[in-house]
């Protein structure tokens, strides 16, 4: 499937980190490559939990060789108790992308919901339902973190695909990845 853009979506978290890989073609159709959740034990020291998350993401990067990594954007005003761990996990996801020579991008939860369901305040069930429909899955992706990771990956491909090329400017790494994918499609 050389003509598709392969996107790894990561819904960062310390206890559950959703990872989803999809192939998205130029006609916006998509297929599932991998979905899973990397977990770390809450009673482990923070540095070991982060190492467990990193190891799990590295396995997915190595096994599925994505073209680009999309990570959910974390906001400081979200749930205070977990936001720092989520931010730390997101930093590790972005670092691993760079260390694999891949471009990375972040998208907000509203951007993801809007891209997938057409509605920025969609609930989790609506997102899971649309992800299952787009990827032609028989069951809803579970748990929600896994569905969110797939939604993020689809959102990234679709948003990049529809974005206009900046006039007179350099392409972002993600735009370059899409341009490359589009050239392959035309062959």
């Amino acid at each position: 499937m050389a003509s598709a853009l392969r996107v790894l979506g990561i819904d960062p978290g310390l206890t559950r980190c959703g990872v989803g890989v999809v192939d998205v073609r130029r006609d916006r159709s998509a297929s599932l490559v991998h979905v899973g959740v990397v977990r770390s034990a809450p009673d482990e020291p923070i540095e070991r939990r982060l190492a467990t998350i990193a190891a799990g993401i590295r396995v997915v990067l190595g096994a599925h060789s994505p073209d680009v990594v999309a990570v959910e954007r974390v906001f400081a005003q979200h749930n205070r108790n977990t936001v720092m761990g989520t931010a730390q996990a997101s930093g590790i996801a972005l670092l691993l992308a760079a260390e694999h020579g891949l471009p990375a991008a972040t998208h907000t939860p509203s951007e993801v919901k809007a891209a997938i369901t057409g509605y920025g305040s969609a609930d989790k069930l609506q997102v899971q339902t649309m992800v299952a429909r787009v990827l032609r899955l028989d069951t809803l992706p579970q748990p929600a973190d896994a569905a969110d990771a797939l939604a993020l990956a689809l959102c990234h491909a679709w948003r990049r695909g529809s974005a206009a090329t900046p006039t007179g400017g350099a392409l972002t790494p993600a735009q370059r990845a899409w341009a490359d994918a589009e050239r392959l499609t035309r062959r």
Copy 2:
């Protein structure tokens, strides 16, 4: 200096990440091993900035082989504009500690100030002055991020050294590192 505990202190940040390495002996005296600041360019993509920070920390870990890593604790309520980048950098510092097989710990800015100056609301100049005095430096460590990293490393060693061994409980990794250092001192 096998009888000293070597601590790497990291004041996490994306634009400037302070790194300081000190040797702390059982009598609480300390000496400077290394101090510096790892910088990343604000106009680089976030994933490349994090990779630059990681590479800089790895150089210090490789060159100075600390026994333990102390990282400043980040709070969600701090400066909204930079807190997420700071949290991401702190996650990377903790990850690198774990990947080098080292225990890690976090300390709050107030804990560091109290340990160094005796006053949890000390200003930056007071911290820099005390760090210079403890380490017998001719000039104040500059910039503040570098001084903070050294203060964090000293704070970690001093707090661990004075902490009572938990009754009937297992030692934390940092407490184990201290116990090991103390055994070496007694030889």
